[in-house]
Amino acid sequence: MHGPRRFALFCLSAPLLGIALLPALAAAQVPEQSATGVIPPQVEQRQDPEYPRGEPSMKSVDVELLVTIDRHGDVTDVAVAESGGQLFDEAAAQAVRTWKFAPARRAGVPVASRIRLPIHFAPSAPALAVPDPVPTLPTPGATPVARVESNASSHQTGAPQLAPEPAREILVRGHSSLPSRGASDYDVNIGRLAQVPHGDAASLLRLAPGVLLTNEGGVGHPYQIFLRGFDAREGQDIEFTVDGVPLNEVGNPHGNGLADTHFIIPELVQHLRVVEGPFAPQQGNFAVAGSAAYDLGVPTPGFTAQLMAGSFNTKRLLLMWRPPASSDHTFGGAEVFSTDGYGQNRAAERATAMAGYETSLGQSASLRLLATTYAAHYGQAGVLRLDDVQAGRKGFYDTYDTTQGGDSTRHSLAATVDGRSGGMKLSQSMFLVLRDFRLRQNLTGFNQDPQQTWQSLHSQRGDLIDQQSGTLTLGGRGSARQKWKTLRQTQELELGYFGRYDRVDATQKRDRAGTTIPYRTDLDLASGLTNVGVYVDASLKPLSWITVRGGVRADFYHYQVTNRCALTTQNSFGGDPLDTECFSSDRVGYRSAEQTASTSASIFQPRVTLLLGSFQGFTVSVSHGRGSRSIDPQYINQDLKTPFAKVDASELGVLYQRAFRALDLSARSVFFQTQVDKDLFFNETEGRNTLADGTTRTGWAGNVRATGGFFDLAANLTLVKATFDDTHLAIPYAPGLVARVDGVIFGDLPLGLSGSFGSGVSYVGKRPLPYEEFSDTTFLVDIGASLRYRAISVGLISTNLLDRRYRLAEYNYASDFGSQDYPTLVPARHFAAGEPRAIYGTLTVLLDGQEAAP
């Protein structure tokens, strides 16, 4: 065992997530220094392989190995690229696994790498020499190859020697990062923090500053996300992608831009990039508060099976695999999950399967395929009135309406081709998504069904809103990036495009209380929505310490929306049948119940970032960008001039990053301001987001990450003031303070065991509510611990360790659930209960190359 205690494949057994990523890059993007490129790994300690004793032929044999080295210099994987026979393969691999390297470095930062290592077995030959390859920069999906001159030397050891052939290949593995957009560009290296309970892919967002997740809808309902003072609801203000496939749903009746991340198996998340603010020309529709890009993959080959069980009859079975000698984008993963939930009407079930495949296309290109399928069915408790709970009429974890709940399915195919042609890096991808969504929720009880003159006499029939949509999404994106040298610096230019078409059928109905029998139609739309984006992105370095990045993006939006129930109130002189829902007459006379509106518009969005540095690890960044968000199809009128919301954002930040001997440290401090001309806010009476006027958010975000040989610590703090532009009143629900600390310690233990312990602490300050009120604060502690012995790992997780009874979401609005003597019509406090303490155990079996070897 070499150096400080660390784990090779241990993190794969971490509870719930089991993510073991090769931290290919440091936690933060930094601008490239006056580039010397990548420094390859250097052998520090080695043990020469022994000529197999069982081999009688005493011949010379060559074995070529693919050796993966992590950022700490440990060998994490050895695969055979060219076999010399089983005995020789095993002898070579066994020896190389014990080697210790100085890790490869890019711009001074340790990075994971993979090298090809030829081993020559000769019965009486000396010398084992270590290659000294020339590094090359990686490209996403491609396999750069550099032929180098070997200066391998040999010496008398009586051991096998490396082949004297000078050609070596070196691949710098893992994520090839896009150019940094400054201090708000978080290349989230999950690393050991996978040990901290996160639970799902959306929760990984909390590793970026300022992210708050709430969920009044239960396990299957998409998270409500707060970022930098934005209530992004279920994703309307954050552009989500998974391997380049957009998640945001245009025209979803619950929220235009809804992004459901529940289909993502969190253990398959290899990398997450969060850009807070619209500063990169690649960011498209819905990147108002920022964007989150998930990259999927499995970093080490092997087979993982994990069973989790615990509180509330929760069960989860996870299976993952990656074939040996394959890229990390070749994998399979499946998950089945069920729970009874932590209170009334919170049961949920879901299943996901994801598969990826990557292969080379010739010498300079690769093809990557991704297929996913997902389905979920869940109950939803909704919200409770605080006065009912305080009066004892309802329990804290009760529900008013057990017919609340939802269903969700998602099926997708995507293909990406990456390659190089000369000095130009090319990428082209296409995707197809089929999505069905249904949500039933009752937020107001019995006060939204007044007696209308065109209706049979009735009392309040209940406010259960039943929203449904079916969506087909087809699209693609492509880019071409070129580098060249000017002024002795590397300059870059990228041209790209994005195209997307959505065909959406969306309805919203009201159901009778306690049933799913609709009695009224609120919304019935058939929409065709097209978005085409084109951009130019340049990275210019006039001097080694000045980098200007950015360009311009143009987005074109086209809508064609057929409202199949355009007139829902009586506007005629009478004569319509009683209880008509979609009227086909008005004061002029007969009209069709349907009406179509179409419009289009384009917006030009300049985006620029100035980076100064690095100065002894410090980098200053200034960014400004314009973004857009397409508006809900229900608001489209014929020839509407601006069918999108426009956002202007600016920020000033400082980033510090340094790799010390036993510590990697990064810290950042960012001022920001974002202004939106047409904001969206949740309307409880309509059950969906509705348009409002302009708003501005001003704030500060800070982040620190420290990683050492036995620990990983991250801390985030965000302060923000969010106000309406006309009244300067505070925007309700957006938190003014969000803080998060994640920490993990890990190491080897006696008896061949290894262990880790992680903890996550969250604090959310009081949130402004309507009517000059504030919500409670939230303080939560989660912990996770695991022990591993060989291929078996057991773990224990506790969320909300302190068992705090807290209100996950709070609102002020009028509702009447019949819980009082008379109808209550004045806004009152409502809340969604947060989960009480939960405890889960995990059992993981991990079979990788080491365990598989006899």
Binding site: Q451, L457, Y771, A814
Partner: protein, 291 residues
């Protein structure tokens, strides 16, 4: 020159400055919400010493009893409807909420008193509602006075016991004297001609609401809601001569009839009382008073 001190300052100083955001310097969301007391009492000539007044039909009415049970009460931001019954627009377009259930989306409730109170409308001494109300700090322009059943009885129950108005007294004119008594119960006697399937703007809950009572005030914390009822408005057009054939007590007191039947029509006095009870202007006044 190392910029490190400057850069460290850039890292740290904003933390100190922007902590102000969490320290309470953030602006509010407007429209404070608070609890307030509410009370109701009589108003007008009926509260004078002998509770006597004259009406438009020339009768001099002396009331001996006028008890009213009302509640809950709601406050709305919407403007009151003008008296536009003679307008051409209203002739063609049914009023949004003249007497029926109305549109909850016509306006927004910003205050409520969720309790019921019985009081003597002949006394100008206000009686507090049993439970305080809740109000948000917005301009109130109309009030709604509901005559709901007693707590525990569903709002759409057709047969109820709650007596909205209980009156007794003597009416005299030109030497004629009529002793009378009567009770208004807002039950299905008043919508007996409604049958299932007929379109109508009167529902059982609708007739138990008086909506659009004009008022205008901006509530402030520490104040209280005061409701006044001028019961004389209920007798404005009552002609007691119509009680000639009404049923009588043994002492000759005429009993006002609300229920239509094959043998007895609803009397004109009772109809006036019902209309007066639902009159949005004149019968009620709603103000915001000092503590």
């Amino acid at each position: 020159m190392t910029p490190r001190p400057v850069l460290v300052a850039l890292l740290l100083i904003p933390v100190l400055g922007l902590i102000r955001v969490e320290s309470g310097c953030a602006s509010g969301t407007g429209s404070q919400r608070f609890s307030s007391q509410a009370r109701v009492g009589g108003a007008g000539p009926a509260t004078n010493a002998n509770h006597t007044f004259s009406n438009e039909k020339g009768w001099v009415v002396s009331l001996e009893r006028a008890n009213i049970t009302l509640g809950p009460v709601y406050l709305n931001v919407i403007e009151p409807l003008s008296d536009s019954s003679a307008s051409l627009f209203d002739f063609f377009v049914r009023p949004a909420w003249a007497h029926g259930e109305g549109h909850l989306d016509a306006g927004r409730i910003v205050g409520e008193v969720l309790s019921q109170v019985t009081f003597d409308a002949l006394s100008n001494e206000p009686v507090p509602f049993p439970a305080p109300g809740t109000i948000t700090q917005e301009q109130v322009r109309t009030a709604e006075i509901w005559f709901y059943p007693e707590p525990g009885v569903a709002a759409d129950t057709t047969k109820i016991d709650t007596v909205a108005l209980d009156v007794a007294g003597v009416a005299t004119r030109a030497g004629d004297s009529v002793r009378f008594r009567g009770q208004i119960v807002l039950n299905d006697d008043w919508i007996a001609d409604q049958t299932d399937g007929q379109r109508g703007n009167q529902s059982i809950t609708g007739i138990r609401k008086v909506r659009g009572v004009p008022t205008s005030f901006f509530p402030t914390s520490g104040g209280q809601l005061e409701l006044r009822v001028d019961v004389t408005r209920l007798f404005r057009g009552a002609d007691f001569a119509s009680l000639e054939h009404s049923p009588t007590d043994k002492d000759g007191t005429k009993i006002l009839v609300q229920k239509q039947s094959t043998t007895q029509n609803r009397d004109q006095v009772m109809t006036n009382l019902y209309q007066g009870l639902h009159e949005t202007t004149g019968t009620y006044s709603v103000v915001w008073g000092a503590p």
